[in-house]
């Protein structure tokens, strides 16, 4: 009778893999050859992808406009510092809150939309915002970037240096804390309700579930996390330009999440590792050929690794060990 308790407990428990994952990031800090600036980028993309995972992997809503929230957070952090509020931690939280509020409003707008219409509306709204920001050069500095962005030292002590040591630890700490909260959230009844609405909204209605409220909330949460990722970018690079809001970025994060695997929360990081690492590799060669390989990865992923790299790798690992049911991972199909 208590096996069902164990079943649920297993899904909530931290696995060895998870602990190893986060430990690896800490260890990387102490390795002298680590490119900390690049690793920070990967973490930020990873967190950004995790924000989309809440929407796509858990709630089943595809979006072509996630960069809008990322950019809102990025610019909020920039404007705060420009107007004298240079403390990073509170700046991060405020940026997340602003993006979150916009997300709540967006949640009300996209209710009832599916498939292509949903993609087009998110795309359209994102493009509107990008266009506005890019053209309003007096307000935003346009493509040259917002002038006057400078961030005070973290906790008053750790300055943001050129090498990126402070930036890396700050980003890692923020990502970890946010991730822990999200992890708890998706293991809660709210997380299960998201999965239910993803699988069958009609059945959720007949269970009395407030699916509209849940959708608005997850949109707000997703936006807040994306906003915080954006703020981290601004704070660690002390720069923000319209590119953070671009459709390119929205498409990139969608690609990253799908390649990594949606619905597992860690897929975003796996995808970011693959994507950024490869992009960095190809930047040295001719950048236009980068598109070929990422396109190929995408085609291969949807053809063979329907659920992404993370479940494919996990599946390979599980088959190396005994095939019995050891730890039922959260069964999720993107």
């Amino acid at each position: 009778m208590s096996s069902h308790r164990a079943y649920f407990a297993n899904q909530a428990r931290w696995s060895g893999w998870e602990m190893a994952f986060w430990l690896a990031w800490v260890v990387a800090f102490f390795i002298p050859q680590s490119n900390l600036a690049l690793l920070s980028q990967i973490l930020i993309w990873g967190l950004f992808a995790v924000s989309l995972d809440l929407l796509l992997g858990y709630r089943g809503l595809p979006s072509f406009g996630q960069a809008a929230f990322f950019g809102i957070g990025a610019y909020t952090a920039g404007y705060l510092s420009k107007f004298g509020w240079t403390e990073p931690i509170t700046g991060l939280l405020v940026s997340g809150a602003v993006a979150g509020v916009v997300g709540l409003m967006a949640g009300r707008v996209v209710r009832g939309l599916h498939g292509v219409a949903l993609l087009m509306v998110t795309l359209g709204l994102n493009s509107l915002l990008y266009d506005f920001v890019q053209r309003s050069t007096e307000l935003t500095g346009g493509d040259d970037g917002l002038p006057g962005v400078s961030i005070a030292p973290v906790l008053g002590i750790f300055k943001f240096d050129m090498v990126g040591r402070t930036g890396y630890l700050y980003t890692l700490a923020a990502c970890f804390l946010i991730f822990v909260l999200l992890r708890a959230l998706v293991r809660s009844p709210f997380g299960l309700a998201l999965l239910g609405a993803r699988d069958n909204p009609r059945r959720m209605q007949m269970l009395g579930a407030p699916i509209d409220r849940d959708l608005t909330l997850v949109m707000g949460l997703s936006a807040a996390v994306a906003g915080m990722a954006g703020a981290l970018l601004t704070q660690t690079t002390q720069f923000v330009a319209p590119e953070v809001l671009s459709f390119q970025r929205s498409a990139d994060v969608l690609v990253i999440l799908v390649i990594g695997g949606a619905g597992f929360l860690y897929g975003g990081f796996v995808g970011a590792l693959a994507f950024i690492f490869l992009r960095d590799l190809f930047a040295a060669l001719n950048p236009i050929y980068w598109y070929f390989w990422i396109g190929l990865m995408l085609v291969l992923t949807v053809t063979f690794f329907r659920r992404g790299l993370l479940p494919a790798l996990a599946g390979l690992w599980a088959r190396r060990r005994k095939p019995a049911v050891d730890r039922p991972a959260q069964e999720v199909a993107p």
Binding site: L56, P62, V109, L113, G115, V116, A117, L119, M120, V121, L123, G124, L125, S127, L128, D131, F132, Q134, R135, S136, F247, Q248, A251, L254, V255, V258, I288, Y289, W290, Y291, F292, I294, G295, L296, M297, L298, V299, T301, V302, T303, R306, P334
Partner: protein, 287 residues
């Protein structure tokens, strides 16, 4: 006043160009519910084929048009048979991601074959310069474009309404299962429709070479326009695509001329509003 009319005319012809490029996508999305974002890459291919035919085979511009059509049509046929048809049953997002992947690959492949910079095209004298029409100074090429576009639209409507194949296409768009139940070979019909639609995209790309820039990044710039025109017009509807193309074309040109700070905002605004008010598009079937 004459400037306004000229802008209107320019927007109209731009819209007609978008129509030729996008109509194939609308019909295949309406018929098979298959979101092929790589459609815009087919337009690019047509542009490159036309330019290559003119540069390396010495073919005239007018002759390069049917060559672009046929070449892209053949390529579309192969693409559909080899790759795309395996994904018909999958969900929207999978199709979107697959075809975006193909789009990315096309950008690099084209850069590899034809080089990264844009390809210029020279028009014959008969299509260059301007001509006076009713007190307005209109570009000859745009008049030509308008004529071709109208002819194509009429041909498509005639083809769909009056020919047997057209009736089969309409049946499949309306109700695939019922059409199949009537004995129609929908796989074959779709393969042929897809090929023709792809050919039209290629033709559109060839026609676009003189107005828009043909370079490897073409799909990245114009994907959004394709999607907007198809979703606003309503999938599966030729008339809807034409209407949406003209509205978007005029809106974009007129908007950018009169309110340059607003930039592309007009078309995005129109898209968002229409998608919220009427998600199936102006002339699409309600879900």
């Amino acid at each position: 006043m004459s400037i306004a009319l000229t802008m209107l005319f320019n927007g109209l012809t731009y819209g007609v160009l978008l129509f030729v490029m996008a109509v194939g996508l609308s019909v295949t999305m309406g018929m098979m519910n298959f979101a092929n974002l790589a459609h815009v890459s087919l337009a690019m291919l047509g542009g490159y084929l036309a330019i290559t035919a003119m540069d390396h085979l010495g073919v005239s511009f007018l002759l390069s048009l049917p060559l672009a059509f046929l070449g892209t049509m053949a390529f579309s046929w192969v693409l559909e048979r080899l790759v795309l048809r395996h994904f018909y049953g999958t969900d929207d997002l999978t199709q979107v991601l697959l075809t975006i992947g193909l789009l990315f690959m096309s950008v690099s492949t084209v850069a590899y074959i034809w080089g990264p910079s844009f390809k210029p095209i020279t028009m014959p004298a008969s299509l260059s310069g301007q001509v006076q029409v009713m007190g307005l100074s209109l570009e000859r090429y745009r008049l030509f474009l308008l004529a071709v576009g109208i002819a194509l639209a009429l041909a498509l409507v005639f083809g769909l309404e009056r020919t047997r194949f057209g009736a089969m296409v309409r049946a499949c768009v309306d109700n695939r299962r019922a059409a199949s139940g009537c004995g129609l070979n929908i796989q074959r019909i779709f393969a042929l429709t897809f090929a023709i639609g792809g050919g039209l995209a290629g033709l559109g790309g060839a026609l676009a070479a003189n107005l828009l820039t043909i370079d490897p990044n073409f799909p990245l710039r114009y994907l959004i326009y394709m999607l907007i025109v198809v979703s606003v017009g309503g999938m599966g509807s030729v008339a809807g695509t034409l209407l949406a193309s003209v509205v978007i074309g005029i809106g974009d040109v007129v908007g950018k001329y009169y309110v340059p700070q607003a930039g592309g905002i007009m078309i995005y605004l129109v898209t968002v509003v229409i998608m919220l008010v009427r998600p199936q598009g102006l002339m699409g079937r309600a879900a």
